[in-house]
Symmetry: C2
Subunit: 224 residues, 2 copies
Amino acid sequence: MTKAVCLMSGGMDSTTAAYLAREQGYEIVGLHVTYGQRTEGKEKQCARTIARLLPAREFLEVDIGYLRILGGSTLTDQQRVIADYDPQREELPDTYVPFRNANLLSIATSAAEAKGAEAIFIGAQAHDYSGYPDCRPAFLEAFQEVINRGTRDTTSITLHAPFVHMTKAGILKIGIGLGVPYEHTWSCYRNEGLACGRCGSCHFRTEAFREIGVRDPLSYEEIP
Amino acid sequence: MTKAVCLMSGGMDSTTAAYLAREQGYEIVGLHVTYGQRTEGKEKQCARTIARLLPAREFLEVDIGYLRILGGSTLTDQQRVIADYDPQREELPDTYVPFRNANLLSIATSAAEAKGAEAIFIGAQAHDYSGYPDCRPAFLEAFQEVINRGTRDTTSITLHAPFVHMTKAGILKIGIGLGVPYEHTWSCYRNEGLACGRCGSCHFRTEAFREIGVRDPLSYEEIP
């Protein structure tokens, strides 16, 4: 069986991507990366549960707390406030963690090359989110080139970002079809107990469930 | 003053690159990355000393011990033996750490974007070393593209690899001209006390000093 390294944050998109990889016949090497974000405890718990349920052949946990130390994001800075979702907002949200996905993909590629995996799955999607530059298709295409040139000539690793052109509702539809247990996924940027219902991430999650007419199994502080 | 993030391993090439960045008028943000390699204690000590001497405006230390856990290299695996330098060897040396430089450059880019630096310096050089894929010019060019596409549209970061087409002797000549204190750099893959004189890294270092007719300030277990 061919192995795939699946980046598993504990959120909806990456969980769905891991189930899709399983459906496509890959043996899953789950990779969860901690970078000092606020809701990490809950996210890791979700990723571990999903790895057990898939089941993944192996589950790797990597800590890159340096991203918090380097700063530059409200997501990793407990002193700063996470803004409510604002549909009028045009600039990049301050939850952007500088170049985060390149860090994640580098780790995933090192893991894939060390363990002989031929694929990497990432749940990145460019549509709903407000333009994180490291979620864009063009970024992911460039990263594939970096993988091709920066690994052994005998190594062949394909980067799969199956949802990069899809909406969150579209991803959710696929996941429902695959039987993804969304009760074991987490999206809220703010809380680890009850989801807040007001941050950008809760906004897009609840909107996706509403759009496809399925009940979100999570509970919210405030009904969005 | 414009800031440059300089990757500083404690070795000859990256130290020379940092002195070159200083010469070109940059304010230095030094970045030392630990990844569980054998001689890390000595390398970090050298990098710290160089940061103090430059002097760097800031010196960041980042731990990515996960590379050791992922495995795949004799450089990070204490159970395996580092081979002596062998001029006949054609395949990639087993000191290759899978995709290491992409991990280092991702961290450097996150740091540069978070801190408003416009340049990154890496001491990579393709000539002497036996074909580490993540030291090749084509890899570095592809990484520049990833930086352009994966950071904010308002961010502009140029990746400088000034020595990528040079030999180690050529780099050393430049460094001697810039007054680089090579007594505070470390190259040996095996030891932290006396350099072994027999591993690939000692081989290329001592050969470079010999070629330009300058005495290497380090002492060796075995005169190479």
